[in-house]
């Protein structure tokens, strides 16, 4: 199959089951170079699993995934080499707590890319500058706010010069007043032409930044299209239903107590 020139990320017939629980039931998706795709959908719909299949943190049950023309799902592929080209940002930041902020950025460059200390430090500082946190270079992650930690996590991924960035609810674990700084960094990244796949509940971000929005439910893509269409004028009842609940949780009538519990679950 020629996956080369066309799409930066290409997902074909992707299925993933945990035991007999089928979480992804046939996903087809393409993300073009420089495109920003936001993935939205209710909790448990398989958004994280989809993202994690793209860099093979989860092994798909069936289907194929290509990134930059390389088949990620090929059993003979050098997965570590492929992952170097894919940056990933997690909901819980996952900074390395035992080293400083700067070392969080230099350690992977040195150990994985084999950059020498000086070059790694220079790249680290450039990227900390980019997320506005150069002055925290010597601090330990625990001393930073959640928003600052997430920006460091983005800088850490960028320091590896990825071609693609994956974001899994990067602002969901943050206090509301810290969300803006992280989204601003991501907006800048999109503006610089980075290919991005973003799982998010921030509909205003999706509307403003995404070239395309994908709505998932029950392990399938229910609706996809330009942001103004999917978020602004959804065609599917399930999409409308979901959006009402996300945009105005208080107004959504049923299932009241359950969705409140859902939200509590998601809180870190």
């Amino acid at each position: 199959m020629d996956a080369g020139g066309r799409a930066e990320i290409e997902v074909r017939g992707l299925r993933k089951a945990f035991g007999d629980h089928e979480v992804l039931r046939g996903i087809d998706l393409e993300v073009a170079r420089g495109e920003v795709v936001c993935v939205i959908g209710p909790s448990g719909s398989g958004k994280s699993t989809l993202l994690r299949c793209v860099n093979l943190l989860e092994e798909p049950t069936a289907g194929r995934v290509f990134v930059g023309g390389t088949e990620v799902t090929d059993p003979d592929v050098d997965i570590d080499a492929v992952r170097r080209r894919i940056g990933m940002v997690f909901q819980q930041f996952n900074l390395f707590p035992h080293v400083t902020v700067e070392e969080n950025l230099t350690l992977p460059q040195r150990r994985v890319l084999g950059r020498d200390g000086e070059a790694a430090a220079r790249v680290a500082r450039e990227n900390l500058e980019r997320v506005g946190l150069l002055e925290k270079a010597a601090a330990y992650p625990a001393k930073l706010s959640g928003g600052q930690q997430q920006r460091v996590a983005i800088a850490r991924a960028l320091a590896m010069d990825p071609e693609v960035m994956l974001f899994d609810e990067p602002t969901s674990a943050l206090d509301p007043e810290l969300v803006g700084d992280v989204l601003a960094v991501m907006r800048g990244l999109a503006g610089d032409g980075m290919t991005m796949m973003v799982v998010t509940h921030e509909m205003s971000f999706a509307r403003e930044v995404a070239d395309r929005v994908v709505f998932m439910d029950g392990g399938r893509i229910v609706e996809e299209g330009p942001a103004e269409q999917v978020v602004g004028a959804p065609r599917q009842a399930r999409t409308r239903d979901f959006l009402t609940r996300v945009l105005d949780p208080a107004a959504a009538a049923p299932p009241g107590p359950e969705s409140a519990a859902d939200r509590a679950d998601r809180a870190p």
């Binding site: 996952n94 707590p97 035992h98």
Partner: protein, 266 residues
């Protein structure tokens, strides 16, 4: 029979009784024990003075050397066994599991005798490097490794899964992620229990008593016992005991400090 005492009164009565029992016990020991004989047998000041400086420069020094070498060997082996226990290759897990059960289930003394007797028999001509020191490091380390492996395994599993995932997503291989990211954090978590293990090893080094050792190789217990029989007096035993406490009490204190600190951090 409902008591009419208030809660506070009841607490006072209860505490009063406890103090009284304690005072009575102390008084009984003080009156009944034959202090004169005990002092003659255990606390002969002249005898004690003659033990120095050898008890420090040879016996305590050897105890420390045996302990540290046993600990170092045990830590290295324990780390390997812990990683085997977590391996995706089933035979490694089995071997590690059997090792841990085997060495935790046997008295350390038996292992010592085994190392001292069986190894030279089984591999004739091969000497354990380091002579007695090597034998002791092996005997202590083999047992300690079994306990440390379980501690380290728990420490590795206590490192959040996201750490490994973040490292892998940056392109680290599994092994590199273990070495650069997971194990450094795991070791931090297990510093208090490993320090505890060090205290246990320090005391277990007394098992050297059962290996034939030269005069220069004697550690505290053997030294104390030899001199006790030479002088027909137990004072050397008491002094040796104090030497143990000189190390174990501060170490125990340190463990509690470290535990409090990791408790706060975690």
């Amino acid at each position: 029979m409902t008591s009419r005492l208030t809660r506070r009164q009841r607490r006072r009565v209860s505490q009063g009784v406890q103090y009284a029992v304690f005072a009575a016990a102390v008084a009984a020991v003080a009156v009944l024990a034959d202090w004169e004989r005990l002092r003659n047998q255990f606390a002969q000041r002249d005898l004690a003075r003659e033990l120095f400086p050898e008890i420090i420069t040879t016996a305590l020094r050897n105890t420390v050397v045996y302990t540290v070498s046993g600990f170092a060997f045990g830590l290295a082996l324990g780390l390997v066994i812990a990683l085997m226990r977590l391996s995706s290759v089933a035979p490694y897990r089995w071997v590690a599991g059997v090792y841990i059960e085997f060495f935790r289930g046997l008295p350390a003394l038996l292992i010592f005798i085994f190392v001292g007797v069986a190894v030279p028999l089984a591999f004739p001509g091969t000497e354990i490097p380091g002579g007695t020191y090597g034998k002791v490091a092996l005997g202590l380390g083999l047992v300690a490794a079994a306990y440390m492996a379980e501690t380290i395994r728990a420490g590795i599993q206590a490192v959040p899964r996201g750490q490994m995932e973040a490292a892998r997503s940056l392109g680290f291989s599994h092994a590199r992620a273990m070495v650069s990211v997971v194990i450094p954090q795991a070791l931090r978590i297990v510093i208090p229990p490993l320090t505890n293990e060090l205290v246990l090893l320090f005391k277990d080094s007394s098992l050297v008593l059962f290996l034939g050792v030269t005069l220069e190789e004697r550690e505290l217990t053997k030294f104390g016992r030899d001199l006790a029989s030479q002088t027909a007096n137990s004072t050397p035993i008491l002094v040796a005991g104090l030497c143990y406490l000189l190390v174990t009490v501060p170490l125990g204190f340190l463990v509690r400090r470290l535990e409090a600190r990791t408790g706060r951090a975690g």
